[in-house]
Subunit: 177 residues, 2 copies
């Protein structure tokens, strides 16, 4: 793991896209910023997507993240809502690609597990865990909280992977290699 890793979490949605930036250093996480993007309702779908894309381009330029952690949520959706969400995911990934930022995807269950220790945690548990971990006071918009949780999830997973990469080869039985 590098000295510090900065992650931009994005919880995509046509109506509200949440974002949150967390920096991870050995033994500590630091909250850098969070917020939501809501394109004006009167815009066409294409212009709404342009609005969201512009916001993510700006986030990437402002925070220069090492990675973008994006929600990947297939469960409990119908085909039409998957289309709408896919469209937002598309323009978010495009912004990341243009900025040279790696995209990592996490399901809500993975995010909850990383942040609270349980893949089935309630929304309020996730929010409390984030507030504690990042020493935040006051209420955060739900979509921004989810975005911060995604960023934290990536940092946790990243750290875990680094630890596993350092230790796993010696600990795996021969048959598993």
């Amino acid at each position: 793991m590098r000295e510090s890793v900065r992650v931009l979490g994005i919880d995509p949605g046509t109506a509200v896209t949440g974002w949150g930036v967390v920096e991870g250093r050995p033994g500590a996480f630091r909250h850098l910023g969070h917020g939501t993007v809501s394109p004006p309702l009167k815009l066409t779908l294409a212009r709404k997507l342009a609005h969201i894309h512009g916001a993510v381009v700006e986030q990437c330029a402002t925070w220069r993240p090492h990675a973008l952690a994006l929600e990947k949520s297939f469960v409990g959706r119908n085909v039409q809502s998957a289309f709408r969400l896919g469209e937002v995911r598309g323009v978010v990934m495009l912004a990341a690609a243009a900025a040279g930022v790696v995209v990592a995807e996490y399901s809500p269950a993975e995010t909850k597990l990383a942040v609270t220790g349980s893949g089935r945690a309630e929304k309020t548990q996730v929010e409390r865990a984030i507030a504690r971990e990042l020493a935040l006071d006051g209420a955060i918009a739900a979509d921004a909280a989810d975005a911060l949780a995604l960023a934290l999830c990536h940092l946790q997973t990243f750290r875990l992977r680094a630890l596993l990469a350092a230790t796993a080869p010696r600990r795996l039985p021969l048959g598993a290699r």
Copy 2:
């Protein structure tokens, strides 16, 4: 209807995106170009989307279309394929928005109906109808044929709407207004 209307049809797909440009003048359609875009398989999803986006940006700059006709296909898809398709749709719409090109969406059934007279036409019937209407010789990639069909569909629908707009108000009974 203007003197001529130029339409860029796009049949989106992560592996292959078809495109086709048709110009409509009163009483005649003219084929301007068609082709397919296939991002290298080894690219990440984000870079594939950037590849497709770049191609559509280029099409819009080259052909300066009045409208982009995009396939809207909910039927027979599962949630995961809807996500993938939505991502491509998102970057296509973004390219249109940036170029100031209006996006019109048509389902496969609407496209088939406009081009062949039947919403349940077979793929080969659609291809024959396009070849006849646009005076094309030789085989066209299926995705490019679908894109040309989308462009034709928009021109037909557009013409129909213009005709209806010119005649409907006088023909509607009072109770329907």
